[in-house]
């Protein structure tokens, strides 16, 4: 593709610098009920080609985090963003809007939950991808259309020549999501942010789309942020996993460590609450009592404390910091963590 010219005038980050660096990010949304800090002091880095899974329940702030990283949430009349997001060495929140727009669909691709609302119902499938291409690259129509067919082929859409001329309503949910993925990949992004990309899809189609994202990532070498409420979706696909609860990162480790030996009480409890296929029927589940907190007035101290079976006075008084005590790239924010040797978090 003609991407080489684009590569030339892009500021090259220092070798070894992370692709994405998020520092103490705080997103406050003004709501009718008062300010709501949906993302509260989140930091992480992402290397080129790496997949970070972000898991959390509804209201945990995972989607707002994804959108703030992209710059979709910016400081404005109803939103306040503090902290920094550096992508390829540039501060996303210091960019003028024109630069941001060239970032979206360019170096950062996005895939959202509902492919039907991400596509314009009166525009043909191929046209969506063609416009994304021509917005970012100087391509003639014929060249762009050839590229669209290549992209459809890349994302596993059978019979691309026919499919480019179809409208979104003529496509199945899985096909629509493939079109959205083709749009996201059109300009060879360095980072793909996929927010619940398979939640609206059936389980067999979900598997296909996740396999597709895996294959594309290996082929194209992009980094991926995979946001999901489903721990299983993230488990098979992410190199590292960050768990969010009530706007904060509570645990962060490589996927194997996190699912094998979680340290935070919330992660451990969440893993126990999920029914598993290998368990006998009618096994009583270890439910987490209560429901996630109201983010307009979050509890003081550890935000999971009101629902935690292991909470003590210190949990309600002081907020545990996200620390990595063993220095093994396994950080958690819990005053009374699961012991590293106990396998109580895993069945």
């Amino acid at each position: 593709m003609t991407d080489t010219e684009l590569l030339a005038d892009r500021p090259r980050p220092a070798a070894g610098a992370p692709l994405l660096e998020v520092r103490d990010l705080r997103t406050t949304l003004r709501t009718a009920r008062g300010p709501l800090t949906a993302v509260d002091g989140v930091s992480f880095t992402l290397a080129r080609g790496e997949t970070l899974g972000i898991v959390g329940e509804s209201g945990s702030g995972k989607s707002v985090l994804g959108r703030t990283v992209m710059g979709l949430h910016r400081t404005g009349p109803r939103t306040e963003v503090a902290g920094s997001v550096r992508f390829e060495g540039r501060d996303v929140h210091a960019m003028p809007s024109s630069e941001l727009r060239s970032l979206w669909g360019g170096r950062i691709g996005m895939v959202f939950q509902d492919p039907m609302t991400a596509l314009n119902p009166v525009k043909k499938a191929g046209r969506h991808v063609e416009e994304t291409l021509r917005e970012h690259q100087s391509l003639g129509r014929a060249a762009a259309q050839r590229r669209v067919e290549e992209l459809f082929d890349l994302v596993g859409i059978p019979d691309p020549r026919r499919r480019v001329g179809q409208y979104p309503h003529e496509l199945s949910g899985g096909m629509r999501q493939r079109v959205v993925i083709a749009m996201a990949l059109a300009n060879d992004p360095a980072l793909l942010i996929a927010d619940e990309p398979t939640t609206a899809l059936d389980v067999t189609v979900q598997r296909q789309i996740l396999d597709l994202l895996d294959r594309l990532q290996a082929e194209l070498g992009m980094a991926v942020i995979l946001i999901s409420h489903n721990l299983g979706v993230v488990a098979g696909r992410a190199d590292r996993v960050a768990v969010m609860y009530a706007g904060r990162l509570v645990e962060h480790a490589d996927a194997v460590t996190l699912f094998r030996a979680p340290r935070h009480r919330y992660t451990a409890a969440l893993l126990e609450a999920i029914p598993r296929l290998e368990q006998a029927p009618h096994l009583r589940l270890e439910a987490i009592e209560g429901s996630p907190p109201d983010m307009v007035a979050p509890p003081s101290g550890c935000r999971f404390a009101p629902r935690c079976r292991f909470a003590q006075d210190d949990c309600r008084e002081s907020s545990p910091a996200l620390t990595d005590p063993q220095g093994g790239d396994h950080a958690f924010a819990c005053h009374h963590p699961v012991s590293p040797t106990a396998r109580e978090g895993v069945r």
């Binding site: 696909r237 009618h282 996630p292």
Partner: protein
């Protein structure tokens, strides 16, 4: 897959619910019809939970609603406690149907936003022209884990999704049903709340001596709560399997495909350090390329309806619809080619 046949029925036993050859079709204009449910039969023993498992479009919700006569099925018989519901109308239908109650996927939108919890729960008897006993309302609310003094005067928007689903269960219990039909009752809830509601449904079933039909797409959830599982595809029965046998002994190619697609399986694999790439997907390509789309329910495939996606399909599958045959230990499968243990 298309299973026709009734070998899996237990006609000798005492059955709370018996469904024969249920067909649900919806006209969509130009003489076309959506074949939502195409001749399925099943029954329910006292105290049993039947899970109905399938993806969107398989007809599982249409089947559940047809039991309630919402709307009445195109053809087929639904016998609840010996009473044939499909021939009843008006007040008779409402009276007999009350023995079956239903809870839905989205608990918030299934409650009238203007009414208070106590009134919502008391509504059922009111429709029957009875006055709900306030003591019973309180008792039922307590049994679903809600404190009537705290939530009794609240409205749905003041409750969480999990609490709304508890109110829906309480509403159902007010009418002393024998059968509770749950249509995706936990799929809109957070993981941490889902386990609470599943546990509550188990407790409620025991406490009120209910039988249950549990309709869902999530294999692990259905397995957790069911005694027997019926797998559906495009309006037909693929397999009827005791819940304990699902994971290891599921036979039908469609059941296997579902089992291989379950993302939760990775949790265990990853925790055990197994490579996820090694998981095979029987029949469906593992590089993420698209498998054939779900055929249209307007014109379902001939013979076995799963054949267009099935790795075992042959000409026979296009010509002859397989019948449901026994596969040992209360297990039944509708497939020409799958090997059944002798």
């Amino acid at each position: 897959m298309a299973g026709v046949g009734a070998q899996h029925l237990r006609e000798g036993s005492e059955r709370v619910l018996a469904v024969d050859d249920l067909v649900v079709e919806f006209p969509v204009g130009r003489g076309q019809r959506v074949h939502a449910v195409s001749g399925i039969s099943f029954d329910l023993l006292p105290g049993e939970t039947l899970g109905i498992l399938g993806e969107s479009g398989c007809g599982k919700s249409s089947a559940g609603r047809a039991l309630m006569q919402l709307p009445a099925p195109t053809s087929g018989r639904v016998r609840l406690g010996g009473v044939e519901l499909t021939t009843l109308k008006g007040r008779d239908l409402r009276r007999h149907r009350a023995g079956m109650q239903m809870i839905f996927q989205d608990p918030v939108s299934s409650l009238n936003p203007r009414r208070k919890v106590r009134d919502l729960v008391a509504e059922g008897p009111g429709i029957r022209g009875e006055r709900a006993d306030p003591a019973k309302v309180d008792e039922v609310l307590r049994s679903v884990g809600l404190d009537p003094d705290v939530v009794g005067d609240r409205r749905p928007h003041e409750l969480s999704g999990g609490q709304c689903q508890r109110v829906c269960i309480a509403r159902a219990l007010m009418l002393d049903p024998d059968v509770l039909i749950c249509d995706e009752p936990v799929s809109s809830l957070d993981v941490s709340v889902q386990a609470q509601i599943l546990n509550l449904l188990e407790d409620t079933k025991k406490r009120y001596a209910l039988s249950m039909i549990f309709i869902a797409h999530d294999l692990a959830v259905v397995k957790n709560i069911s005694d027997r599982i019926m797998v559906m595809y495009l309006g037909k029965v693929c397999e009827v399997v005791p819940a304990a046998r699902l994971a290891e002994h599921g036979l039908h190619p469609y059941t296997r495909l579902l089992l291989e697609s379950v993302p939760e399986a990775y949790l265990t694999d990853v925790a055990n350090g197994a490579s996820v790439d090694g998981v095979g997907t029987g029949g469906e390509p593992a590089d993420g390329s698209a498998a054939p789309d779900l055929p249209s329910p307007l014109a379902p495939p001939s013979g076995c309806r799963f054949r267009t996606r099935c790795p075992l399909a042959t000409d026979l599958c296009a010509e002859v619809e397989p019948t449901i045959r026994p596969a040992g230990d209360g297990h039944f499968v509708a497939c020409h080619h799958v090997e059944v243990p002798a």
